[in-house]
């Protein structure tokens, strides 16, 4: 599969509390390095998000910083963060809604 650059520095985050949205998640992970993308899918039926998201850093460094930190706490809630080894394909069509 083609990707603009082969290296992808992504983490997969789960157990995200309902009170935070992309903005907060992006801000939080911004402390580890520049966040290139942040996909936090919302369920259009309920209006709540699904509790997990993908964070893409622009550099290996950002990724490493994020992975080394433990625990990740956002507004007092512990997040689960793991490395996403391969680019996540298959959400392009409605990227906009989530990635902003």
């Amino acid at each position: 599969m083609a990707a603009p650059s082969k290296k992808v520095f992504e983490v997969f985050v789960s157990k995200i509390p309902w009170t935070v949205a992309s903005k907060e998640v992006r801000e939080y992970f911004g402390q580890f390095g520049h966040v290139k993308k942040c996909l936090l899918p919302f369920d259009k039926e309920t209006g709540f998000h699904r509790g997990f998201c993908w964070i893409g850093f622009s550099s290996e460094e950002g990724l490493q910083n994020a992975l080394q930190k433990d625990p990740h706490l956002i507004e007092g809630t512990k997040l689960q963060v793991q490395r996403n080894r391969k680019p996540f394909m298959g959400r392009r069509a409605n990227k906009e809604a989530e990635e902003s």
Binding site: A21, F52, G90, K95
Partner: protein, 1428 residues
């Protein structure tokens, strides 16, 4: 678990105190002070017991497998069996409803209204509900619904009662009794006389339980006179007056205002020879509670404590409830203090809280909440405490005021019980779309300094958006403004704008409502909207406007791509791109706008499908060329990405146009050629088969060996030894092995040892197989050659001989035969050697012979020492049940205490208690057993209970079994139906119908819902004793298949025979038609029905329905319609069941008439009919193969309203939507759809996507397959979701793509672990012929997925299906050679193969039927977990 341990600790039991040997009453009392007695009658209105009344435990794991195995009807494309789904529907539905309700009750002790109503609705829609469905529903309308007010519950019960009766449910006494129970639980006022009259009118005989409950009803009203009348009547009928009656009288007198008489009942009871039980005291306590008499309550509680009785937490909660309801909540804390926090405390207390909240006593509920063990506060998901979520949610549902909610939240937060109660409460309010409440909560949160974010309002907006409710939307927006929350672009574009017909009306409406529209959020949403609509020129002017704010392209990239895709306006496309390229307003700070554009281009191509790009090739070329003219460049890595996409879309011509844009052309290298993938099949050559014997000529090695083995088979040892002596030079290791084994069998240790030594001299390296070694060990130890035996074991270890299960069995027999001789020295020596060498790991079974050795000689002390020794050395407690039983029998309290202490310390108190329980049961000490089993905190261990029940059934010990069933009535999580089923099985064995009938009454008293098999068993017992069956017997559809074959033959004669006599009544006709229809004798049934019609007789709707079903099942639509016409003549409003319509749909799909089929489906739904699973499946599959995504969605939406009752797999839509996408060439969407199934929620066996893989493989669609397999891999490696990869693996296997399967295994190693899936795959394919190769491949790829014997059994099954005798023989030989155990079913199969081929069966054929052995095998596979 922790809660369990804590409560179990309460019981510092001293077993000697329980023994009647020292049986002074004092001792017993001290122990029972800790033990608790069962509670039989629960007063109205409070928590349902956590004991599951429907429980269905054992079926769980296998049902999951079953789902996997049968992947609902999706497999064969045309498998024309509409009747099958129909037939099983009702039974399935009951199972489903039961399982659903049961799991709810099991987990929480309650049922939610939504769940119950859904099940009710579904049962109604399918029509003709069965008796136990009705019972199930009625039973659930009482205290199992703590979230509903009393009146609403009773109303629901009445709705259920009437509706089901209308639909033809037959009510028997169990239903009336259940209704009474619900009345009592809901404190419903009704007239008992009217009730009895109603029963009489319905010709239903009241029984003891009915009278008991009517007395309770009078008493609830304080009507002693009424109660006495019924009591007198019971006496006149000689019905036993039980404790329950007296308990009601306590309540009755108290409610009549006569506390003195109420208290006096206790001495009346004693006078009548019935000891007041805990329920009696509870009734008295509640009476005092209603009076608010705390002093008396305390006095009584203390008195109870001094008796042989103890009250449970649940009882104390009842007192609290009574206090609160009578307005004496100030006394509640006094009772709270006495709580012991037993196991089950939390669910019970939760239900108490819910009831209190429902009744409007949320403050008391809150006080109870705060008594929850603090451990509960440590939440399940993380370290943050979140106690009281259920409390807050129910308060929200009950619309408590925001002030009250805030008050509770603050308290929870301040006492550190919940980390974010306000957020959670807000979540609940949002989830239930309570705008005013949510806004109120948010105001408080804002005051508290908590952030309020735009997306908090989305759940509120979604509803309005769905309803296109503009005022509602504006109201939410105003609330946002009030709270100073600025809606962002997502809020506008996803949740606000879609509510309005256009952006302009939205803008006007917002302005009118005083909401600002000049925000970045709104403008961005507008951009998105324009872009998505494809209005590029409008978009361009919007974006070029100088007043346009800074908006990152990320905010509208996807919409822009969508717009570009749909537009032919190359001019505007270019200009917009140029704008993006040059205008820094569109790039985030820190990023380069040129990069953004390059990335956008990549996304543009990536976001288009192959067809899109091909169709728009020319436009795209123009667009790219114009970009070049505008000096827009892209970096080389982006170029590569785009090139790859275009390559894969087969439009390489465009590549050069993209290349023209690259800024630095130097850096382009030639791309690597794609690596070819090897497809050579590894050819496996297998040679087997020996030539025939019989040549007495030249003694070549092969022939010699055959001779030896033939002699061994004939057990001719002396001749074999002679032959050996003659041809010493031909002796090979395998010949030695055969001979050694033969010697062992002939109990000849000397010769065996000689041969063994001879072999070792010839070749010291050679090793025998494990079983031959074991035979040697056995014979040697038997003959006292202990050291030699030990040497053999050592050799096994040295030579690393693999040990199999059968070896272990042999080992056990070796040890056990020593045990029977009482030879503990030999056992110890062998055990020590085996376990020290690590040949076999110690098991309870292997350790038991040592204990047996002592037990045989009656030496209990030695036995106990031995088992303790085993535990010390090997962590096993062999035969502890026998030892404990022995000690109880002997009354050796000192030793018993020692044993119990030991078990308790090593295995936990639970195990110890069960051991003691069974020992008491075994020895008939029921009183003591009861105390044990009623220990607070003890929970059901179905395996152990089953073990004892089976023991009783085999030994026909009715007394013991009855006692166990009775004693376990309040045991936590005890499957009551299962227990009664054991009892009925024994009744059946002893043919005791009176006992069986009493069991049925007992079940009603206990409010147990029998499963169908229980009812059938009961009916069976009654019928075979010529007794009337007082209830409707569930139908058995599966008998139909068997009956069918014979009916073909017997048609001629039976037609005349079954015709009822001339004077037959309508009822007889009804029965006839029912029976014949169900047995598949359709034509006969039809004839009889016509005959009845000619006579002008009206039969019941059920018989018409049954016949229609049967006719349709045989494809006879015409006659079915004729029956329908007859039916509507006789039964007003008779509605043809949904089947005809279903059949219609299926036919339409078959003819490719999908549009019409969809119309028919809609018609059905409009008529409030339920389409069958099959009809929907066919339709959706048809749509999928046409690529009609929309059609599938439409069906999905239509079907959604039906609820889950039709048992449709959600995967049906997912899979076929994916296939439709693939059919349209849109693989990306297919992957997205499938992937989200796994990324959302857990792996469940239902999430089967084999169907997609199979279709793609069948179509040889490599492109789709690549992406799907990439997806499967991704799910496997990132989401730990192995289902997709496993499905793909099995499909590769199934379609013979072994290489691919192997590659997949390398990439997704976890697939190897999915043994259940492999097993069910094997089970499934072995039902068809010609599947041997697949199983073999599977073993080859994943050798360890199942035990060898299991695999062999399946292989044998396949050979039998394939009629492949020679392979079957070879398999049998191989199994024998490997000493694998060949089960009787396999032997039976092999034998019939021999017979079919006209050969004689060379072994003794198992005498029973296939069915018998299949059943036997099944039973042996359900392990009894009794660790004895």
């Amino acid at each position: 678990m922790a809660a369990l341990l804590r409560s179990a600790r309460l019981l510092k039991i001293s077993p000697c105190a329980l023994l009647p040997v020292k049986g002074t009453h004092k001792h017993v009392a001290t122990v029972s002070g800790y033990c608790s007695r069962a509670v039989c009658r629960r007063a109205a209105g409070l928590s349902g017991s956590v004991n599951s009344p429907f429980s269905y435990s054992s079926a769980w794991p296998c049902s999951a497998l079953r789902y996997y195995g049968t992947a609902p009807e999706q497999k064969g494309v045309v498998k024309d069996e509409p009747s099958l789904g129909v037939r099983t529907k009702q039974a399935q539905q009951f199972d489903w409803a039961l399982a659903k309700l049961d799991s709810s009750v099991r987990r929480t002790g309650r049922v939610t209204k939504t769940l119950l109503q859904r099940i009710f609705h579904d049962i109604c829609r399918t029509g003709y509900p069965s008796g136990n469905q009705a019972l199930l529903l009625l039973r659930s309308c009482g205290s199992l619904l703590p979230e509903l007010p009393f009146a609403e519950r009773t109303e629901l019960a009445h709705r259920v009662w009437e509706k089901l009766q209308e639909l033809g449910a037959t009510y028997d006494v169990s239903h009336y009794n259940a209704l009474l129970k619900v009345y009592l639980q809901n404190e419903f006022k009704f007239s008992p006389t009217d009730f009895l009259a109603k029963m009489e009118a319905a010709n239903v005989q009241p029984n003891r339980v009915t009278y008991q409950r009517l007395i309770a009803a009078y008493c609830q009203d304080g009507d002693i006179e009424g109660a006495s009348k019924i009591l007198a009547f019971m006496k006149s009928k000689d019905l036993p007056i039980t404790e329950a009656v007296f308990n009601s009288l306590v309540t009755g007198h108290s409610r009549a205002g006569d506390m003195e008489s109420a208290a006096n009942i206790l001495s009346v009871m004693s006078g009548a020879g019935i000891e007041p039980g805990p329920d009696t005291y509870l009734a008295l306590l509640c009476a005092y509670a209603e009076k608010g008499d705390l002093a008396k309550i305390k006095e009584t509680l203390d008195a109870v404590e001094n008796k042989d009785i103890s009250l449970m937490d649940r009882d104390l909660m009842q007192i609290m409830f009574s206090l609160t309801k009578a307005g004496h909540q100030q006394h509640v804390p006094e009772i709270v203090e006495r709580m012991r926090h037993e196991r089950g405390y939390v669910p019970d207390a939760m239900n108490l809280c819910l009831s209190l909240i429902t009744q409007g006593f949320e403050d008391t509920a809150f006080a109870v909440l705060k008594t929850f063990p603090s451990l509960q506060a440590e939440s399940q998901n993380g370290d943050n405490p979140d106690l009281g979520n259920f409390f807050l949610r129910h308060c929200v549902n009950m619309d408590k005021s925001p002030e009250k909610l805030v008050h509770f939240c603050k308290d929870l937060k301040d006492s550190n019980l919940h980390s974010s109660p306000l957020q959670f409460t807000l979540y609940c309010a949002l989830d239930s779309k309570k705008t005013a409440m949510a806004v109120g909560l948010m105001k408080t949160m804002k005051e508290e300094g908590l952030p309020i974010r735009p997306h908090y309002f989305w759940p509120l907006l979604t509803q309005h958006q769905k309803d296109k409710n503009a005022p509602g939307t504006l109201e939410v927006l105003k609330a946002m403004q009030e709270l100073d929350v600025l809606p962002d672009v997502d809020t506008y574009s996803n949740y606000v704008l879609p509510t309005f017909p256009s952006v302009d009306t939205a803008r006007a409406a917002l302005k009118g409502a005083g909401c600002s529209v000049d925000t970045t959020g709104f403008v961005s949403a507008e951009v998105r909207n324009e872009a998505a609509r494809g209005n590029l020129s409008g978009l361009l002017s919007l974006m070029s406007s100088s007043s346009f704010p800074n908006i990152d392209i990320g905010a509208f990239r996807a919409s822009l791509i969508a717009g570009f895709k749909g537009s032919n306006d190359v001019e505007s496309m270019t200009k917009i791109t140029e704008l993006l390229y040059n205008d820094s307003r569109f790039s985030q700070a820190g990023t380069d706008s040129a990069d953004n554009v390059a990335y956008f281009l990549y996304n543009l191509f990536d976001g288009m499908t192959e067809t899109d790009v091909q169709a728009k090739e020319e436009k795209l070329r123009q667009y790219l060329n114009q970009l070049g003219q505008k000096n827009i460049t892209i970096p080389v890595n982006i170029y590569r990405g785009i090139r790859n996409i275009l390559d894969s879309y087969h439009v390489p011509e465009l590549i050069k146009d993209v290349l023209a844009l690259v800024d630095d052309k130097e850096s382009i290298r030639a791309s690597d050629a794609p690596t070819p993938r090897g497809f050579e099949d590894r050819v496996l050559s297998l040679e087997k088969k020996l030539e025939e014997l019989k040549s007495q000529g030249k003694p070549t090695g092969a022939i010699f060996k055959q001779l030896i083995s033939a002699l061994c088979a004939e057990e001719n040892l002396s001749r074999a030894l002679e032959v050996k002596a003659q041809h010493e030079e031909e002796m090979t290791p395998s010949c030695y092995a055969l001979l050694i084994n033969l010697c062992c069998r002939h109990d000849n240790p000397e010769e065996a040892l000689n041969l063994k030594r001879e072999l070792a001299r010839k070749d010291s390296e050679v090793a025998l197989d494990a079983n031959k070694y074991m035979s040697l060990v056995k014979v040697l130890s038997k003959h006292g050659k202990l050291e030699e035996a030990v040497d053999i074991l050592k050799e096994m270890k040295e030579k690393d001989v693999p040990v199999k299960d059968t070896t272990v069995t042999l080992l056990f027999h070796t040890l056990n035969s020593a045990a029977l001789k009482g030879d503990s020295t030999t056992i110890r020596r062998l055990q020590d050697t085996i376990f020290t060498l690590g040949l076999v790991s110690p098991s309870s079974n292997l350790c038991s012979p040592l204990v047996t050795a002592y037990l045989e000689s009656g030496d209990l002390t030695g036995a106990l020492e031995a088992t303790m020794e085993s535990h010390k050395l090997y962590k096993q407690l062999p035969r502890i049940h026998d030892i404990i039983s022995g000690l109880v029998e002997k009354g050796d309290t000192e030793l018993l205490q020692k044993a119990m202490d030991f078990v308790s310390q090593e295995r936990g108190e639970m195990t110890m208690l069960y051991d003691l329980f069974f020992a008491f049961m075994q020895t008939g000490r029921y009183r003591e057993a009861r105390k044990i089993i009623e220990t607070p905190g003890l929970r059901a261990r179905p395996g152990r209970l089953q073990w004892f029940a089976e023991k009783c059934i085999t030994g026909q010990q009715m007394e013991a079994l009855e006692n166990m069933v009775d004693m376990t009535s309040k045991l936590f999580e005890c499957d009551r139906d299962e227990m009664y089923h054991y009892l009925l099985r024994l009744c059946k064995d002893t043919n005791d119908w009176r006992k069986a009938e009493a069991v049925w009454t007992k079940m009603q008293e206990e409010n147990v819902i029998p499963r169908e098999r229980t009812l059938r068993l009961l009916a069976d017992i009654l019928k075979s004793n010529n007794q009337e069956v007082p209830f409707e017997v569930p139908e058995v559809w599966y008998e139909q298949h068997e009956a069918k074959d014979s009916s073909e033959v017997a048609r001629g004669e039976s037609a005349s025979r079954v015709s009822p006599p001339k004077e037959a009544s309508a009822a007889e006709y009804h029965l006839r038609v029912m029976t014949l229809s169900k047995k598949g004798k359709v034509q006969e049934a039809f004839n009889i029905l016509k005959e009845a019609d000619r006579k002008g007789m009206a039969l019941g709707p059920a018989s018409y329905d049954a016949l229609i079903k049967a006719l349709l099942a045989s494809g006879n639509l015409e006659d079915a319609l004729a029956v329908k016409n007859i039916a509507s003549k006789h039964v007003s409003g008779f509605q043809l069941s949904d089947l005809a319509s279903n059949l219609h749909i299926i036919t339409q799909v078959k003819h490719g008439n999908l549009k019409d089929a969809l119309v028919s489906l809609k018609g059905m739904l409009q008529a409030d009919q339920v389409p069958s699973q099959l009809a929907i499946t066919r339709l959706v599959q048809g749509l999928g193969s046409r690529g009609d995504v929309q059609g599938i969605q439409e069906v999905e939406n239509l079907v959604k309203t039906l609820g889950p009752s039709i048992n449709l797999s959600s995967m049906l839509f997912v899979n076929n939507t994916a296939l439709a996408h693939i059919k349209n060439g849109d693989i990306q969407s297919a992957v997205e759809g499938l992937e989200s199934v796994y990324t959302q929620g857990s792996d469940s066996p239902q999430k089967n996507i084999s169907f997609v893989f199979r279709k793609v493989l069948e179509a040889n669609n490599e492109g789709a397959l690549d992406k799907l397999s990439a997806m499967a891999e991704r799910l496997c490696n990132h989401f730990a979701s192995y289902r997709a990869a496993t499905d793909l693996f099995l499909q590769y296997l199934d379609t013979g793509r072994t290489e691919e399967a192997k590659f997949l295994l390398q990439r997704c190693a976890a697939v190897v672990e999915q043994k259940d899936a492999m097993m069910s795959y094997m089970t499934k394919i072995s039902q068809k012929s010609g599947q041997v190769a697949k199983i073999k491949t599977l073993i080859e790829l994943i050798p360890e997925f199942a035990e060898k014997e299991t695999v062999c059994a399946y292989l044998m099954k396949c050979y039998a299906l394939d009629k492949d005798l020679s392979s079957a023989k070879a398999l049998y030989e191989q199994m024998q050679a490997e000493r694998l155990q060949v089960d009787e079913l396999s032997l039976k199969r092999l034998a019939s193969l021999y017979k079919d081929a006209g050969e004689t069966v060379p072994f003794e054929e198992p005498p029973e039927t296939f069915r018998f052995y299949a059943q036997k095998l099944k039973e042996s596979k359900t392990p009894s977990t009794a660790d004895n």
